[in-house]
Symmetry: C2
């Protein structure tokens, strides 16, 4: 009903060209552009610090957050780009760019509505996830989106929509097989690194299991982090396909094959917030499985007072949601509720967990029995589903495949196909903690143990973490070592030990028979 | 139950000393520290990009976000500080600092719980607000906190606790008078700049009104932004007290007197998110009033389809919450529900609104009548509460105080006491929009009009904004100018006009009598 006068609009001249160069600043994944305070472009466009800026150049476009600079290390007519922004621009030397105001991010209106309790539609989720994948959301906006997807107010249909949106914006795989398996643990249980064992067993028995894994969200290690200490995990999609076609299984990082790519953007914010809600969890897990072309997924849900899922009711609710969302999107989901009262295996941290895996696969006498048994239970369920053995025979079959070396040979073959098997490193710094008294171990705090491993540097420092020497029910003597902290930097070791010193109840020892 | 070996802990040597210097980078309010990738401290402490770093030096301590740098503009042994970090350190030249891992922010656990639907206690809110005020939260954490405080799940008791916490962490004023007035508009209505008029009228009648105001959150101007185009608003607490003792009223920016200081940290995140929830709104408003020592507050709640409050039910709910929280904390709250169907006055933007104020105060014939009447309604309610006149006589009394120049003289005296009255500037760039057809103005979209003023540069560019030439019910001819966009930069003018061009329904003209 109103209109703008062409005279004014067309009469406006704007200089928006700058010379972009990399500043060598690592701002993690948030793209930042540095512009001089006296920059003509900055002034004529009305940009100020924290403005979101659209950058076009090198045949690409991106949106970055502006930091205004008053200093000589940025020249006149220059725009400095942080590492993340430079990667998005994709240039290999300084080049001309045009800067402008970005379009309004319309999709954020749905996030705002979500926070005020308004349901989000499938189309809205799709728009949000597209914008997130294209890195159009700032960290502050990502944080609000993550916050909007936790809590009791998120409906099942919204989780289905979110999951579908996450699948749709990325690559998807199709396999020329009627049944394709996948497996996942919802986490919360340090050291529960069964996926590599399950893939090795299932593939050794002829099943197809193209496993992609995440890096750690709030835990000291993800399967991708652990596998990276053993072989290459950043495979291209064709390479991943080649590995699976040759060996029946793979163990790669999902981020590198662009399956559900929004997940990897969201994960870093969830990590900063230490926030991993049910809706986001289900969407994250199932979108990866769907994008990988799986028809069947087995989900391990450990339950314990300090695991991610604390009681049977929580496990039931999560299982229901997993099955509901799976079936809504054509994926058969089986759930195995497991004991989550204490860590599985000994190592907590990428390399330490890899050593546990190698022990089990090689059938070493000192390999952690609990990890072997947990893996056999999960693999057994898949072997039964896949018709490899009869009902009730899965666990024994899986144990046999481990015992006779078939799983170890398959694991080696998969790693070779992914780029070669290597031995994990050991941390240069190590310090023990001792039992302060004699008695029986009656409690182990999973969350604090995970926190301890993270303070020691895991997962960024791959050899860092915790080596746990006791399990529930073990008898210990005063001054007996109960764990070792491993670290790559003395500062991190000291930081972890300080935390340990102020949390002696991390492992509780009591009188007992 | 477990303990750390002293040998290990005390044996760890750490070099944590660096030379801090300002980098001249404006990262807005988030403190950032730049450290070299090859920095020994960085490596021994296990820091990486986005790590939160504790910095001690110059007798102060702060927490900053790390950006790792590979470039020559930062020397060996140096740590570069962003403007916000440098301000917190308070040094006037490069100085030695010690860096370390910050303590875990325990209070964030309550934010996490809140998102999952767990109520937050008074003590928890207090801890959160203390940490926020001390700048211990990163932007991503602040965003999650803001997100956790919106929506239907926030209880009244939580709002009381949040409000009390916001008062408690800042300065509070006490006045030696039994009755101290304050006034606030919950916003959403562009141009509704009545506070300066109400303060002038009330103070001219002998009432006490120590008014502190916010800067804009999601609107094109806050009262502090508008007043800043007329006089100084960043007064110290003693200066503010001096002004009020001399003139009975003041119009200062709340942030500079440290009343409810957390509010000013939260506002910038709310601004980025364009998110201003009911709980945060009530806590923000009432914490300022309580901290300023008010006993009575009059709250203007404009209602209209495109105002912040959209209908009578919303106004009633907000009024109830305001009165409940006020009375829980010893503040008498009166609410005046007003017409929010269209902007008040002509100007939208700091300086443009100041010109409207001056017109009303000076009794000019072309002053906007709707602004004068709105101010008289609000001031009248306060005059009646304060016993200046009898019930029902407030509006006429207020209009008389405006008409005879007493309000204008009082306003001049207040501005003189605050540092001198000055004339607002005019924007260098201006462009009209025209009615696309003849007819009657039947709708004006407050939100889009506010957005237009913001795209033109308001409030950062004080003279930018929108000058609205028509009101609801006005007859217009095709090609008649209906508004002018004012801007300080050609880029911003072009950006605003582009938005206008794609939103012609911002003002709807229809056939009509």
């Amino acid at each position: 009903m109103i209109r703008v006068d062409e005279r004014y609009r067309s009469g406006l001249k704007r200089e928006r060209r700058l010379r972009a160069r990399p500043m060598g600043v690592d701002t993690y994944q948030e793209s930042v552009v540095y512009m001089r305070e006296d920059c003509a472009v900055c002034r004529s466009e009305g940009f100020e610090s924290q403005s979101r800026i659209r950058i076009e150049g090198n045949g690409r476009s991106l949106v970055a957050t502006l930091n205004v600079v008053r200093a000589d290390w940025l020249g006149h007519g220059e725009a400095g780009l942080s590492d993340a922004a430079w990667r998005q621009l994709g240039a290999d030397q300084p080049c001309d760019i045009e800067v402008s105001h970005p379009h309004t991010i319309e999709s954020f209106g749905a996030v705002r509505g979500r926070l005020f309790g308004r349901p989000v539609t499938g189309g809205e989720f799709r728009a949000v996830i597209e914008d997130i994948t294209a890195r159009r959301y700032s960290d502050v906006q990502l944080s609000a989106f993550v916050a909007s997807c936790v809590g009791p107010g998120v409906s099942r249909d919204e989780v289905v929509s979110l999951t579908r949106a996450m699948v749709d914006v990325g690559q998807t795989l199709r396999w020329d097989r009627p049944v394709v398996f996948d497996k996942h643990c919802v986490g919360g249980l340090p050291g529960n690194r069964t996926s590599p064992l399950v893939v090795a067993i299932a593939a050794a028995c002829g099943l197809i299991m193209p496993k992609t894994s995440s890096r750690a969200i709030t835990s000291p290690a993800g399967t991708a982090d652990t596998m990276e200490t053993l072989t290459d995990v950043e495979l291209s999609l064709p390479d991943m396909r080649r590995v699976v076609e040759r060996e029946g299984g793979c163990l790669v990082w999902g981020g590198s094959v662009n399956l559900s790519p929004a997940d990897d953007v969201l994960i870093r914010v969830e990590r900063v917030l230490d926030l991993d809600g049910e809706a986001q969890l289900v969407a994250s897990v199932l979108s990866k499985k769907l994008a990988a072309g799986s028809t069947h997924a087995l989900i391990d849900v450990p339950v314990g007072p300090t695991a991610k899922v604390r009681d049977a009711a929580g496990a039931e609710a999560l299982s229901d949601l997993l099955r509901f969302v799976g079936s809504s999107l054509g994926l058969t989901v089986d759930v195995l509720v497991t004991d989550g009262t204490q860590p599985v295996g000994r190592g907590i941290g990428p390399a330490l967990e890899a050593w546990d895996l190698l022990g089990v696969l090689q059938g070493r006498a000192d390999a952690p029995a609990d990890l072997r048994e947990r893996a056999a239970a999960l693999a057994g369920a898949i072997l039964e589903r896949g018709g490899v053995c009869g009902p009730g025979e899965g666990v024994d079959t899986a144990l046999a495949v481990l015992a006779d070396g078939r799983a170890w040979r398959k694991f080696q073959a998969i790693c070779e196909a992914q780029g070669g098997l290597r031995e994990p490193l050991r941390a240069p710094h190590r310090a023990p903690a001792f039992a302060a008294r004699s008695g029986r171990v009656v409690n182990i705090d999973n969350r604090r143990l995970a926190r301890l491993a993270k303070l020691a540097g895991a997962p960024q420092a791959p050899t860092a973490g915790v080596e746990l020497l006791v399990h529930l029910g073990d008898r210990v003597q005063a001054d007996q070592p109960v764990l070792y902290v491993h670290a790559e930097a003395p500062g991190e070791l000291a930081y972890a030990l300080t935390y340990l010193d102020s949390h002696p109840e991390l492992i509780v020892v009591e009188d007992g028979p």
